[in-house]
Symmetry: C2
Subunit: 170 residues, 2 copies
């Protein structure tokens, strides 16, 4: 199973592609799509959509794992992040991928074992689980890989111990 | 100038196409795209994107006018509306349209003359300005036409009296 993990955002969209072979992960590729703050939002959304569509075309993942977003402060920002997330989901759906969504809590539980883990612990676990030399940068890329690992764990591999509620098709 | 007005939403996306001829509007078409609450969100986003792309293909508007969204309560809903808005903006950008954005305040000022007008007053003005027999339903369609009228007024037609700040390219 080839998993595309996505951490959606309009300035930085982190992504990572992993192969799950039995109980282990193999890193295929990871990076982030950056958009310029001086570019009008419609053009930024186009760049995100086209960039992600190219990644899907190139790596042909079977499934996408996307972090669910929560906000409790700035609704204006929530709308903009929602716009970026919408075109990311559209790119995955138009690419024929199954789409699963996980909350930050679920991702932390899957990687570190408890939901109150901090961001750095999660990132260290990404490095360890994927046997990388260092934590991927920017944080968004590490978070995208974390979402991919979370999906891999919860959809088979580790067998029951890390059962998570998966919300297929968001 | 042919204007596509859009009131974005994930359950109902209102749209309306108007021609501006000198100082007057001619109604071309208006309706709404509905998505089913039992359909997974990625498929709903696909339906919105494809539906709006077909409308753009069919009516070939020059420019799109989209209501800017404000929320002060539910961030979860804001994300979902943002997702729908993102794919709507993407459909317009991919269709080669210029995109302008107006706040609800700007739209009310453009139609009724003052920003505290209520929803019903705006809808009555849509009916009057466009010489319709009744107020278009659902509200989202009337709001989309209001956004289109707002853009028409502010980009020429009525000449200065209703000058609005236009934020081109969002």
């Amino acid at each position: 199973m080839r998993i595309l993990g996505i951490d959606p955002g309009y300035a930085i969209l982190g992504w990572g592609v992993l192969d799950m072979e039995g109980n282990r992960f193999k890193v295929v590729a990871y990076d982030s799509i950056l958009t310029d703050k001086d570019t009008p939002m419609p053009a930024r959304l186009q760049e995100l959509y086209e960039g992600l569509s190219e990644i899907i075309e190139k790596y042909k993942p079977d499934t996408a794992s996307i972090e669910e977003l929560y906000f409790n402060n700035n609704a204006k920002t929530a709308i903009m992040v929602g716009e970026a997330r919408g075109v990311a989901v559209l790119a995955c759906a138009n690419g024929g991928l199954e789409i699963s969504e996980y909350t930050p809590l679920q991702i932390k539980q899957a990687l570190v074992g408890y939901g109150r883990a901090d961001k750095k612990q999660v990132q260290q676990m990404v490095k360890t689980i994927l046997n990388l030399e260092k934590v991927p940068k920017p944080d968004d890329t590490a978070d995208a890989l974390a979402a991919a690992i979370c999906h891999g764990h919860s959809s088979g591999g580790s067998g029951g111990k890390r059962e998570l509620r998966i919300r297929k098709g968001i």
